[in-house]
C-alpha cells in the first residue's frame, strides 16, 4: 500500500471517529480526548452518575450538567503551537 492511501484511510478514520490520533498528536490533545471520553461515559452510566451525586450531595441533573459542561475544555486552554 502506498503512503497516500494510508494517509487517506487515516483521514477517513479521523473524520469518522473523534479522537483518532495522528503522528502529530500532542499530549494535551490526547488528554483532552481522554477526559471527554471519560465524562461522556460517566454521563451514560447511571450508577456512576449516582455515585458522584451521593458523594457531592448534588442532584443527578446537576452532576450531569457539570460533566457535560466540563467537556468543553476539560484540561485548560491548549498550549501554543510552535510550528504555527
Amino acid at each position: 500500500m502506498d503512503r497516500l492511501n494510508i494517509n487517506s484511510q487515516l483521514e477517513h478514520l479521523q473524520s469518522k471517529y473523534v479522537g483518532t490520533g495522528h503522528a502529530d498528536t500532542i499530549k494535551h490533545e490526547w488528554l483532552v480526548n481522554q477526559h471527554r471520553d471519560t465524562n461522556a461515559a460517566f454521563v451514560g452510566h447511571q450508577s456512576m452518575l449516582s455515585y458522584f451525586a451521593v458523594a457531592e450531595n448534588e442532584s443527578l441533573a446537576r452532576v450531569k450538567f457539570n460533566l457535560i459542561q466540563k467537556m468543553v475544555q476539560p484540561c485548560g486552554p491548549p498550549p501554543e503551537r510552535e510550528d504555527q
Partner: protein
C-alpha cells in the same frame, strides 16, 4: 472456580419513567427503566396502589426510553436507547405479558461512547420520526411510518451530525402536522480547542438549534439556531399545533426562557426558597418536568410541572392566543423528593420516580389554583431584569404538601451504601442489614426474606381453634358470608358483614368439631363432621348422611360438586351432586387397607361435571391418585412414593404458562409430616404424576390451603413458617410470609377485603392480605439523618453503630451560628422556614467543603436511635471499626470492645484534601437510664490524612490513613503509632485480615496482599494485581483468595499462587520478602485472576455467607442502585458444562431485549471469565414452548429436566 450469578433483588433505582397507553386500552401505564431492566407498572385508579405487571432484564444499560404513538393510533410503543449501538422499538403484548421487539436497527458501535447515539431520545409528538443523539456530534433521525398491513416501519437513518459539538439536551418539538422539528441544546468547542489564550472559551456560546426533518425531501436541515444563556441545561417542548404556541422552554440557572423561531422571548425566574442561610451566588436549575394536557370546555389546555434540583415543583402556565405567547407565569406548587421522572396520569395521579430512596405515587388534591401562592409573570420579571444589572432573584416560602396527597410508595434501596449479612434473630435465613439513601431521607433497613403481609384484623377467640373455613351461600355470590371456626368439641359460625358476628341459625351443627365446609351446587352448603355429613339446603332443610356406627370420618375433601370422605377404617366414600341438587353416595366404597392421612380433590373444570381425580395420602408414605370417572370410579390410576407420611394434599391449577383459566398446569402438592413439600405435575388426562420437586419448609407437618392472589390460584403452605406458592409473571414462586406461625388458613373475600386470607394462630383469628408479589424481601426501616457511610455491629448488645456524613450541608451547630450571624446582619428570621421538615425539604445546603456528620447507635429490633453524637468543627466521619485491644490502659477487661471512628476535618472532595484527620476512640458505657449502653469518647488522635479504612488487628488497630497503612496501639491519651508502610499506591479503601496476612483494597490499584512480620514489626507488601481496579469493596473468600468489586461495575476474584502464599508465610523475619526486587514497578509477585464478570452496577458490599440452612456458601453482593445478588460456586464439572451450553443457547435463541450482545455486556471492561449468568439461564422458563424444546434437545434432556436444574440452582443456595 466457576460461579453462577443469580440476582435476588433487582436494582430499585429508576433512571427514566414514561407513561402512555402501552396495552392499547384506555388505562395509562408507566414504564420505568431501572438501569438494566424495563418494568411496566400499572397504578390501580381505585385503590391507588402501583402494581408491577412486567419486569424484564435487558442485559444492557438502558439510558433513555421514550413512548411514541403513530398518528391516529391508540397504542404506545416504547423506543429504547441503550448501550447497544442500536435503536430498539418495543411493543407491550398484554396477552402474553411480554415486551415484543418490533424493530432493532444497528447504527454504531456498542458500549457507552461519546459519539455513539443512545443518550438522548426525542420523538415527534405526532409519531412520525425519532431523533437519537449522542453526547457529542452524532444525531440520527429515523422516520417511522406504517405499511399497508398497519405495521410499524422504520426508515434508514438520516444524519444530523455536527462535529466538535456537545449536546446537553434534545427534544421533539410539537409542530402539529408540519415537518417534524427537533430542538437541541449544543455547544461548539472547536474554537476553544484551538485557542491557547483561552479567549475563545469565553466567547463560546450555547446554542439552541432546530433540526427540521423535511418529509418531502427525506432530509434533515438545520433550520434555525439562536444563542441562549451559557448555563442552560435543559429544553422543554411546549405543546403546539392546535393545543398551543409550540416552541421550547430553555431552562437555565435561575431562569427559564421561552424561545421559538420568529417569536418574542419570554423569561420567568425559578423561585428560590426564602431560606436565610442560602447562598445567593449558587444558581438553581430545573432537573425534571412533566406536561399535562387536558380538555376544559372542549378547549385543550395545558400546564407544566417543573422540578428544581432542590425538589421544589413549580407550575408553569403559558398565556397564548393564535399561536403567539403573551406571557408565562410560574408559581410554587409543592415539594417532592428530587426525581428522575414525573408522570402525570389522566386518572388524577402523579408518579414521581425518585433519584434516591422510595418512589411515590401521589393523587392530585388541587391543581395549584390557590390564590394564596404568589404567581410570578414573565412581564413583571423582565421589567425587573431590565431595571437591574444582575439576574433578579425571586423567593417563595416553602410549605408542606398542599396540592398532592401521598397514596402509595415503591420501596427503593438505592443508594445502598453498605450492607451486612447477619443472623441476629436466629431465623432459618440470615437478615440483610443495609444502610441506604442520601441526606435526610437516609434509612437503615433490615431485609428479611419473605413476602410482606398487611394485617387487617386480629380477633381473640375463647379457645384454640383447630380450623377455619369461609363460605359463600350461593355459587354466584361475590363475597363470602360465613366464617366457620372449628374447635376441639364445637363449631362456631360467624357472619361477615359490616362487622363479624356470631350466628346460630345457619343449620351448622355447633356441638361437634368440623372437618370440612364447602358451598355445594347452586345454593347449598355442606358440613362434614366426625359422625356424618350435613347437607344444608337454601331453605334450611338439612339432609344428613350418618357415618356407619363405630366408624368416624377422619378426612374429607370437597369441591362444589363432589365430596369424598375417609373413614377411620381406611375406607373412602364418594358422593356426587346430581342434577336435582341431591348428594348421592357412589355405590362402592374403596378399601385402602391403610390409615388415610389426607385427601384432596381438584376444582371442577369449567363446563365439566366433575373433577377427574382424587388424591389419597396413606400412612405407608404413598399418595395414590384415584379416578372419579363414572366408568372407573375410585380405581387407582397412579401412585407417588413420598419421603414421609403425607399430612396434607392439594390439587391446584397454577397459571405458570399463561393467564387463561384451564390452560395452566395442574399440580398435586404433597405436604409431609416431616416438613417437606413435594410438588408434582398431575396430568389432566391420564392422571399420571411427573416432575417432582421437593422443598423443606419447616420442622412441622405441612398443611396446604387453596387461596387466590391477584385473581390467580395460589396455595398457602403452613409449617413452622408460612409459605405461599403463587404465580407472578408466568413464573411459579414459593416464598415465605413474614408473619407469625399459622396453623390453618383459608381464603377470605369480602367487600372490604377482596383478596384476603383468614388464618388461625394460637387462640386468634387473623385476617390479612398479601399485596406485594414478586418482592422477595420484606423491609423494616429506621430513619437516619445524613447519608450513611459505614456501620458495624456491636455483638455484645446487638446494636449497630452507624457513621453518617453529608457534604455541603449545614450541621446543626453551623446552622445555629449562621442564623445568629444573619440576625446580626439584620435579616428577619422566620422560624417556619428555618425549621422546615428535612424529610421533605432536605437539609439546608452549605458551600462545598462544609460537612454535617454524626455517629449513631441504633437498636435494630426496637427500631430506634439510642444515641446520636453530632461531630463538630466541620469534621466528617468516614470509617468505623470495632477493636479489642490487647494491652489497654482504659480497661481492666481485656474483652472490652472499643469503637474507633476515622474522621476528617475540612475535607474537600476534588482534590482530595483535608486540614487534619482524626481517629476517635469510643467505649460503650452504661447510659443514664441504666438500660442501654451509650458511647463515650476516650480520646482523639490527630493524623495527617483521612483514615478511610480501620480494622482490629491482633489486639491492635490497623488503619489506612490516605496511602499509609499503620498499626496503632492504644495509649492513655492517644493512639500510639507502632508500625507503618507506605507501599500502597493511592488510598486505602478496605482492609481485611486472616492470621498475619493483610489484604488492602486500593482506590485505584486493585487489591494488594501484605504480611505482618512480628519479629521485625514490619508490614511487607508482597503481591498485587496486574489490572488497575478502582475497588469499592472486597472480601476474603479464603486465606489466598479475594473477591472484590470496582467502580465500573466489575466483579473479580483474585487468588495468590500457592508458592507465593507459602513463601510469604515461611519467611519468619521477612528478610527475603523485604529485599525481593519489585517487578515492573509494583510488588514482587502478582495474584492471578480467577473470575471476572460485569455486574452492571457498582458493587457496594460483598459477603461470604449461607442463605439457606444447610445450603452452600455463596458470595452475596449488594450494589449501589439497590440490587442484591449472589455468586454460587459450582460443585461439579458436569453442571458447569450444562450451564455453559445452556447459556450459549440462550444467548443465540433469546438475545437481550435492548439489542446488547450478552457476551460483550458481561465482558464490558474485561472479558467475562468463569462466571455464568444465571439470570439469563432463568429466562429459559419464559421462552415459547417450541424454543424450550429445541434447546432441551441440544442439551440431551427434556424441558422439565432443564427447568428443574435451573430451579435447583436457585433454591439450593438462595431464594
Amino acid at each position: 472456580m466457576f460461579l453462577y450469578n443469580l440476582s435476588l433483588n433487582p436494582p430499585t433505582a429508576i433512571n427514566k419513567a414514561i407513561y402512555g397507553n402501552f396495552s392499547g386500552t384506555k388505562q395509562q401505564e408507566i414504564i420505568v427503566a431501572r438501569h438494566t431492566r424495563l418494568e411496566l407498572l400499572r397504578p390501580d385508579p381505585t385503590t391507588g396502589k402501583v402494581h408491577t405487571v412486567l419486569a424484564h432484564d435487558c442485559f444492557g444499560l438502558v439510558r433513555s426510553i421514550s413512548p411514541f404513538r403513530l398518528t391516529g393510533g391508540s397504542k404506545d410503543y416504547v423506543i429504547v436507547g441503550s448501550d447497544s449501538g442500536r435503536i430498539t422499538i418495543l411493543e407491550y403484548n398484554p396477552v402474553k405479558n411480554t415486551f415484543d421487539k418490533v424493530h432493532q436497527e444497528t447504527y454504531g458501535k456498542s458500549g457507552l461512547r461519546r459519539i455513539v447515539p443512545g443518550q438522548y431520545l426525542a420523538t415527534d409528538p405526532k409519531g412520525r420520526a425519532v431523533m437519537i443523539g449522542a453526547v457529542e456530534k452524532q444525531k440520527l433521525v429515523y422516520i417511522l411510518n406504517r405499511d399497508s398491513a398497519a405495521r410499524l416501519t422504520i426508515s434508514s437513518p438520516l444524519e444530523a451530525h455536527k462535529s466538535h459539538t456537545l449536546i446537553h439536551d434534545c427534544v421533539g418539538l410539537d409542530v402539529g402536522f408540519d415537518n417534524p422539528i427537533f430542538a437541541c441544546l449544543e455547544i461548539d468547542y472547536s474554537e476553544a480547542d484551538n485557542d491557547p489564550t483561552g479567549e475563545a472559551l469565553k466567547d463560546t456560546e450555547k446554542i439552541l438549534t432546530y433540526y427540521e426533518l423535511d418529509l418531502g425531501l427525506n432530509h434533515v436541515v438545520r433550520k434555525w439556531s439562536e444563542p441562549v444563556d451559557y448555563k442552560a441545561n435543559m429544553l422543554i417542548p411546549v405543546p403546539g399545533g392546535t393545543d398551543g404556541p409550540s416552541g421550547v422552554l430553555v431552562c437555565t440557572e435561575n431562569f427559564i426562557a421561552y424561545k421559538h423561531q420568529d417569536m418574542q422571548e419570554h423569561r420567568i425566574p425559578i423561585p428560590r426558597r426564602a431560606q436565610p442561610l442560602e447562598d445567593p451566588s449558587r444558581g438553581i436549575i430545573i432537573s425534571n418536568y412533566a406536561v399535562h394536557r387536558m380538555k376544559v370546555n372542549r378547549q385543550s389546555q395545558f400546564f407544566l410541572l417543573l422540578q428544581s434540583e432542590e425538589g421544589d415543583v413549580y407550575k408553569v402556565t403559558i398565556d397564548h392566543q393564535d399561536n403567539i405567547v403573551n406571557g408565562i407565569t410560574i408559581k410554587y406548587f409543592d415539594t417532592l423528593p428530587v426525581s428522575t421522572g414525573i408522570c402525570i396520569l389522566k386518572s388524577g395521579f402523579l408518579f414521581s420516580a425518585s433519584e434516591f430512596g422510595n418512589h411515590y405515587l401521589y393523587s392530585f388534591e388541587k391543581l395549584g389554583d390557590d390564590e394564596d401562592d404568589p404567581e410570578i409573570s414573565s412581564a413583571d420579571y423582565m421589567e425587573a431584569e431590565a431595571a437591574q444589572e444582575e439576574t433578579p432573584l425571586v423567593y417563595f416560602k416553602p410549605r408542606p404538601l398542599k396540592n398532592l396527597l401521598l397514596v402509595d410508595e415503591l420501596e427503593s434501596l438505592a443508594p445502598l451504601v453498605d450492607a451486612k449479612v447477619l443472623n441476629l434473630t436466629d431465623d432459618d435465613t440470615p437478615q440483610i442489614f443495609g444502610i441506604c439513601g442520601r441526606g435526610a431521607r437516609s434509612t437503615f433497613r433490615i431485609l428479611r426474606h419473605g413476602l410482606e403481609v398487611s394485617e387487617m384484623a386480629v380477633s381473640e377467640l375463647p379457645g384454640n381453634p383447630s380450623a377455619v373455613w369461609t363460605t359463600k351461600l350461593k355459587a354466584d355470590d361475590e363475597y363470602h358470608s360465613y366464617i366457620v371456626v372449628s374447635f376441639i368439641n364445637a363449631t362456631l359460625v360467624l357472619s361477615i358483614g359490616e362487622t363479624v358476628e356470631e350466628v346460630t341459625d345457619t343449620g351448622f351443627l355447633a356441638t361437634s368439631p368440623t372437618i370440612a365446609v364447602e358451598q355445594l351446587g347452586e345454593d347449598s352448603l355442606i358440613q362434614v363432621y366426625p359422625q356424618g355429613i350435613r347437607h344444608i339446603r337454601a331453605d334450611r332443610r338439612v339432609n344428613e348422611w350418618r357415618a356407619p356406627s363405630e366408624k368416624t370420618i377422619v378426612q374429607a375433601a370437597a369441591n362444589h360438586r363432589q365430596v369424598a370422605i375417609a373413614l377411620s377404617s381406611g375406607e373412602i366414600v364418594y358422593f356426587e351432586l346430581d342434577n336435582t341438587g341431591q348428594l348421592n353416595e357412589h355405590q362402592d366404597r374403596r378399601e385402602m387397607g391403610e390409615i388415610i392421612t389426607s385427601l384432596a380433590i381438584g376444582d371442577v373444570p369449567e363446563g365439566r361435571q366433575r373433577a377427574r381425580f382424587l388424591a389419597v395420602g396413606l400412612e405407608d408414605c404413598t399418595v395414590r391418585i384415584l379416578s372419579l370417572d363414572p366408568d372407573s370410579c375410585l380405581e387407582s390410576v397412579s401412585m407417588q412414593a413420598a419421603q414421609g407420611v403425607p399430612s396434607s394434599l392439594c390439587i391446584i391449577e397454577m397459571m405458570d404458562t399463561g393467564n387463561e383459566i384451564g390452560h395452566g398446569t395442574q399440580y398435586l402438592n404433597i405436604g409431609l409430616n416431616n416438613g417437606l413439600l413435594m410438588r408434582t405435575v398431575l396430568d389432566n388426562v391420564n392422571g399420571q404424576l411427573s416432575d417432582t420437586r421437593t422443598r423443606f419448609l419447616g420442622a412441622k407437618a405441612v398443611q396446604l390451603f387453596k387461596i387466590k392472589i391477584q385473581g390467580n390460584p395460589a396455595m398457602l403452605a403452613l409449617s413452622t413458617r408460612s409459605w405461599l406458592t403463587y404465580t407472578f409473571q408466568n413464573r411459579l414462586y414459593l416464598t415465605p410470609l413474614s408473619y407469625e406461625q399459622l396453623e390453618f388458613g383459608t381464603a377470605f373475600i369480602s367487600e372490604q377485603c377482596p383478596e384476603g386470607v383468614v388464618a388461625v394462630a394460637k387462640n386468634t383469628l387473623r385476617i390479612f392480605t398479601i399485596d406485594k408479589l414478586g418482592v422477595v424481601f420484606n423491609q423494616s426501616i429506621i430513619p437516619l439523618t445524613y447519608t450513611p457511610r459505614r456501620f458495624i455491629l456491636h455483638p455484645a448488645t446487638k446494636n449497630f453503630v452507624i457513621i453518617e456524613s453529608d457534604h455541603a450541608t449545614f450541621s446543626p451547630e453551623a446552622k445555629r451560628e449562621g442564623l445568629i450571624e444573619k440576625e446580626r446582619d439584620g435579616f428577619e428570621i422566620d422560624d417556619e422556614v428555618t425549621n422546615l421538615d428535612p424529610l421533605q425539604f432536605g437539609h439546608v445546603r452549605n458551600t462545598a467543603g462544609k460537612w454535617a456528620s454524626c455517629i449513631r447507635v441504633i437498636s435494630p429490633f426496637q427500631g430506634d436511635t439510642l444515641q446520636q453524637i453530632e461531630l463538630e468543627e466541620n469534621e466528617a466521619a468516614f470509617s468505623v471499626a470495632l477493636v479489642q485491644f490487647r494491652n489497654n490502659p482504659h480497661s481492666t477487661d481485656s474483652n472490652e470492645q472499643f469503637v474507633v471512628v476515622g474522621t476528617g476535618k475540612d475535607v474537600t472532595l476534588a482534590p482530595r484534601t483535608c486540614s487534619s484527620g482524626f481517629i476517635h476512640l469510643y467505649r460503650f458505657v452504661q447510659g443514664e437510664d441504666e438500660q442501654n449502653q451509650t458511647l463515650e469518647l476516650v480520646h482523639k488522635t490527630a493524623v495527617e490524612d483521612v483514615p478511610t479504612a480501620l480494622l482490629g488487628f491482633q489486639g491492635r488497630l490497623l488503619a489506612g490513613v490516605g496511602k499509609a497503612l499503620r498499626i496503632y496501639d492504644v495509649g492513655k491519651k492517644k493512639l500510639l503509632r507502632k508500625c507503618e508502610t507506605k507501599s500502597v499506591p493511592n488510598a486505602i479503601t478496605s482492609l481485611h485480615t486472616q492470621g498475619d496476612r493483610i489484604v488492602i483494597g486500593d482506590i485505584q490499584e486493585s487489591v494488594i496482599f501484605a504480611v505482618y512480620k512480628h519479629i521485625d514489626n514490619r508490614i511487607i507488601v508482597f503481591a498485587d494485581d496486574t489490572t488497575p481496579r478502582w475497588t469499592t469493596t472486597s472480601t476474603m473468600v479464603d486465606y489466598d483468595t479475594v473477591a472484590g468489586g470496582d467502580k465500573f461495575g466489575n466483579f473479580f476474584i483474585n487468588r495468590l499462587p500457592t508458592n507465593v502464599s507459602e513463601e510469604s508465610d515461611d519467611d519468619p523475619a521477612g528478610g527475603r520478602l523485604l529485599y525481593e526486587k519489585g517487578y515492573l514497578g509494583g510488588a514482587p509477585h502478582r495474584s492471578d485472576n480467577v473470575a471476572h464478570y460485569f455486574v452492571g452496577d457498582i458493587l457496594s458490599s460483598l459477603h461470604r455467607t449461607t442463605l439457606v440452612s444447610g445450603g452452600r456458601d455463596v458470595l452475596l453482593y449488594t450494589t449501589f442502585l439497590g440490587s442484591i445478588g449472589i455468586f454460587v460456586p459450582f460443585v461439579s464439572k458436569e453442571d458447569v458444562d450444562f450451564f455453559q451450553t445452556l447459556e450459549m443457547h440462550m444467548r443465540s435463541v433469546a438475545p437481550p431485549l435492548a439489542g446488547r450482545d450478552h457476551l460483550a455486556y458481561r465482558g464490558y471492561y474485561v472479558p467475562v471469565h468463569n462466571v455464568i449468568d444465571g439470570d439469563l439461564c432463568e429466562q429459559y422458563n419464559s421462552l415459547p414452548a417450541e424454543k424450550k424444546r429445541s434447546i432441551a434437545e441440544e442439551l440431551d434432556r427434556t424441558v422439565m429436566e432443564v427447568q428443574k436444574k435451573i430451579e435447583d440452582m436457585r433454591i439450593r443456595s438462595g431464594y
